[in-house]
Amino acid sequence: MTIDASPQVNAPPGQALVVDAAHVDVTYTVRGTDRLAVRDISFQIGRQESFGLVGESGSGKTTMALAITRYLARNGRVSSGSITVNGQDVASLGKDALRSLRARTVSMVYQEPGRALNPTIRIGRQVAEVYEIAGLSKADAAGRAEQALRRVQISDPGRVIRSYPHQLSGGMLQRVVIAMALASEPALLILDEPTTALDATVEAEILDLVASLREEFHTGVLFISHNLAVIAKMCDRVGVMYAGELVEEGGAREVFEQPRHPYTVGLIRCIPRRGQRKDHGRLDTIPGFLPSPGQVPTGCVFAQRCGLAKERCFTEAPPMYEVSGTRYSRCHYHELAPTLPRATPADVQLPEPDRAAAPVITLREVSKTFAARGEQVHALTGVDLDLRLGETVGLVGESGSGKTTLARVLLGLTAPDQGSTLELEGKKLAPTAPQRNRDQLRAMQIVFQNPDSALNRRHSVRYQIGRALTKLAGLHGKQEEEALLDVVHSVRMEERHLDLRPAQLSGGLKQRVAIARAYAGNPQVLVCDEPTSALDVSVQAAILNLLAELQGREHVTYLFISHDLGVVRYLSDRIVVLYLGRIMEYGDAETVFSGPHHPYTEALLSAVPSLDGALRERIALTGEIPSPAHPPSGCVFHTRCPRRLPSGICESTEPPLAEAEPGHFMRCHIPLADLRALQHVSNE
């Protein structure tokens, strides 16, 4: 074991470096106090190399990217170390040189393409402007703009050029931004969570695009993401950041397959994968939480949360150890990292849902049509669905597929169209919540996606949960107080949290309050609308464990909405796939995931990057999700379906939702046997 104090030189020798960061510290001054946000970070990116920075929020990834282009906020500065981009020391650049660096050498792409573009200027003008700045004439620039859009695989650049940003989808806008970023043929392209705001199918397309453009332009890439699988797919090498430090570095595959830092080990264990299911065992979690920014511990930054930490870890900060020629780990005991003990015991006893039981919820012919600007938008069309006691039904589909509308209709927040039938235990439900009685309201509750919106920021935790107990369970006084403590303990919170307001709680705690509130009235059905998508992975694992545990204990039915198929698979007993407001496929989770799938499900599954490296054959979806105001004729999926039948039946006739095999329903003209052959599903 050698201690490596000098910056690592990992890029192949003889090749110029695009980025060379050496022992960089970044300090923010907040009200006169200096806070170290990034500590002693060294990494290098070679020409044409793709380097990933991965870590949870607050780990300093974005700060590092901003430091490279000297875009740190006014109160931030590189307080130590040096950053060299394409051979130039960034800190020493004058005004003009800095502008030239940003204009020609480095380009950045951010998470929200909508905010990177000017909403009042047509796309064509905005793209052309980049070329004009580079010195081209107006006419030449316009021509180059069209070419650039073609190069990012925009099929109809003529239309896009004339459009304003709000007329294009998020995926299309991100393509435009990438086209603009590549206009100067930069040596370094920084992508900061470029696909986080996009659907999985669109994400897959954008990632493919970036990968192919990287080859074409010979650009070095710094790819920042919280999503380990995306990084694994996109990057040659990866650096794992934690609390402002680079804790591990190495080849992307190696790091994720054989992590050598306890944090990386823990992080990977938090993610449900390899078809892991709730009845196989709990997800592991990382105990504790991120040190507050600016807190510099004496020892290792991760020691407080590390199951392997020994005395030395608390007193002596580990240097970057060289594990092997290309692997580095900031851990005194990196060889022990894979033996990290579990923070959460795996053993779990979950009762099997009773599949023969009468359904708790029955939906028949549920439709919802919104009137928008004189158009009829069909958000839901003829949905039939049964939810049985104690089971989890996963609801998946791209944005705009009607998942949230279905949840809102069920809860009575949105009234369905005439002719829709909703039943709770065989009794008809009124279309809207105010018309339902207390028992019916109590029976169905929801955990929203964003706890900041779901919790009232002006009221204490005690008030918000207590109010639910009063209104739904009819409890008052001493009884209410007891029930309050009971439910708070059941979501693993403590009494001292009761008098805090949401802003004083971390994201995970806020979501626990929301879950406690939903559970206050002993619901029979709980709608979980993307309950973990606003949370970091380590927090997500704890919330998923909690949801599974509460379900096992209280026999609650979950309608679980998520875009994260790994999470859906972990928690769900059955899966419903929605597309343009219609159920395209539903069946037992294992059947739906193992196939044969509906072609839409197949495309969804293949779009998700996997950490396991077992790359599926990508089934690319062409085109964008059609407008629900004008659904395509025949099968609504035919416009994007890669397996469309040549006979033309898909265009003319809508297939029924038929039972393809026992318990497995599909809305597709292609016979199951043919799908099985097409998808190479082994015939078990």
């Binding site: 990177a116 705001a197 939480f289 507050s292 929203f448 779901a454 009232n456 009221h459 739904l472 994201g507």
Partner: protein, 328 residues
């Protein structure tokens, strides 16, 4: 370059789908969980402590460092002292004049001179603070309470009621405020109550508009849906759930309207429809003395006018400072 367009306004990394959140406090590790409490107790230099009390304390600290706020407050408090203790401070009787000393220019005996009836202008300016400082806050308070309720109802229920109220507001605002007040006072007769009512009700319509806009945003948040799902009454949702969240714009609106109320009362008094003589009042005094300006008796007009101006400026300084601190 694209990056140039984007960066200043866009600190990358946050979005609707993924909000940056801290890690989850320990469920198993009490030591780590204590970090949360420690942050709370020490305030960790203020940035991490987000309890309501700490935020209020921080707001107050920022206000007390603001020269505009301190200046405004000093002037405002001076007039409050005058309003309360005016009769004690005033060197002369503000109502009964001297039969010999009329139209005397400012001097060491009469700092602001005397008016055409021989009354001491300084004493009248001081005592004149009283009625305006009673009527203006009461009228503004009435306007804020009624306007807030109206705005909550409009924003929460929307629909026909919102449209009807919206059009009434449009109609009322199409007329200059002074004309509405003038017509109202002429119809009902001038009195303190009349002034409070007319100013309060017109302000209510304006304030309702601000509150409505804020409520429209709030009602879309999920906590409102959660309240509906536990069978809360509409009144509860409006006044207990939403109202505390729209309090900041209401507070700002109150201070802004207070300035306008002072202005309105002074104007109406000047026109003779406000505070009635012989009660000392700035607007009325200007009305009584401006005709002597041509004769060179400038002090009789100038000092009451400065009093009005200083009070309005003070209230606006306070209002602007509060707005800058509360709404960031």
């Amino acid at each position: 370059m694209m990056a140039d367009d984007e960066l200043p306004g866009t600190p990358a990394g946050s979005s609707a789908t993924r909000t940056p959140l801290e890690g989850d406090p320990a469920l198993l590790d009490p030591a780590a969980a204590a970090v949360l409490v420690r942050d709370d107790a020490t305030g960790a230099a203020g940035a991490l402590d987000v309890s309501a009390r700490a935020i209020r304390r921080e707001h107050l600290r920022q206000l007390l460092r603001s020269p505009a706020f301190l200046t405004g407050m000093a002037i405002f408090l001076w007039w409050v002292v005058c309003a309360v203790f005016g009769r004690v401070i005033a060197p002369y009787d503000p109502v009964t004049g001297s039969l010999t000393q009329f139209n005397v220019p400012p001097s060491s005996t009469h700092w602001f001179g005397t008016d055409s009836l021989g009354r001491d202008v300084f004493s009248r300016v001081i005592v004149g603070a009283r009625d305006i400082l009673i009527i203006a806050p009461l009228a503004t308070l009435l306007g804020t309470v009624v306007g807030t309720s109206l705005g909550l109802i409009q924003g929460y229920f929307r629909g026909v009621l919102d449209n009807v109220v919206g059009r009434i507001v449009d109609a009322v605002l199409a007329l200059p405020f002074v004309i509405i007040a003038f017509l109202f006072v002429v119809a009902v007769g001038p009195s303190t109550i009349t002034l409070i009512l007319v100013i309060g009700l017109v302000f209510a319509l304006i304030i309702a508009r601000t509150v409505r806009t804020a409520v429209l945003q709030e009602r879309e948040l999920d906590y409102v849906a959660a309240a509906r799902l536990r069978n809360e009454s509409n009144a509860h949702i409006m006044f207990v759930e939403i109202l505390p969240n729209v309090f900041a714009p209401i507070m700002v609106e109150f201070t802004v309207r207070l300035g306008y109320a002072i202005f309105a009362i002074a104007t109406l008094s000047f026109l003779g429809f406000g505070i009635q003589p012989p009660t000392p009042d700035w607007g009325a005094d200007i009305a009584a003395s401006y005709q002597y300006l041509a004769a060179g008796y400038w002090w009789e007009t100038l000092f009451p006018a400065l009093a009005i101006a200083s009070l309005i400026v003070a209230v606006n300084l306070i209002g602007d400072s509060i707005e800058a601190v509360v709404i960031q």
